[in-house]
Amino acid sequence: MVVVVQQADFDLNQEYQTLIEGNQTDGAVVTFCGLVRDFNQGHEIIGLTLEHYPAMTLKALEKIEAEARERWTLGRVTIIHRVGDLDLGDQIVFVGVSSRHRKDAYAASQFIMDTLKTDAPFWKKERTTTGPRWVESEMR
């Protein structure tokens, strides 16, 4: 299991290699990347700043990963979430899951992202053409 919160960018291919290297039991890998997009909730975006609750973020992500492992048969799981200042088009989040069969990998990666969006203490503040604004949650 790899769970990381970092300011630095990540490399998709490198993360994919980490999931498959020496791993001959898993026949499926699903990866997801979340990016900074240009338009959100009616505002034109220049970039964003991700704030988090440092003492809690890792703990929350590890809990989500453990929950996913209880529900599905998984091999390797990687969750990377960036914090700090990001620009348009930058990568924000990576979720990678390997499993014996694709169904578990698809379901688990979707579950991890969905739960991350409701339970992990990250907040986006967007820099828009009309000034900074906190993103409103659309989850609940």
Binding site: L50, M56, K59, A120, P121, F122, W123, K124, K125, R140
Partner: protein, 82 residues
């Protein structure tokens, strides 16, 4: 003492990121909300917002979650990561 933390919009609204409270008389998270609401309209409104989230010792919590002396309690708006 109980350590209280605020994040994101809530931190800006209250102009406060961290404070400490005496643990006496505090049994649940809602006791903290009640106590801090006495600080004025801004605090009362922000801490009684319907969508307010809270955590005790870095685990998501509810208003009726138990709080003990030495705990860390955090309040924050709905999360928007991912």
């Amino acid at each position: 003492m109980i350590k209280i933390l605020f994040f994101a919009q809530l931190k800006e609204t209250l102009d406060c990121c961290e404070l400490e409270l005496d643990g006496d008389g505090i049994a649940e998270v809602k006791d903290i909300i009640e106590l801090l609401s006495q600080r004025g309209v801004v605090w009362a409104k922000a801490l009684n917002a319907e969508k307010l989230m809270m955590a005790v010792n870095q685990d998501l919590a509810k208003a009726n979650t138990q709080v003990n002396d030495g705990d860390e309690v955090a309040f924050f708006p709905p999360v928007t990561g991912g």
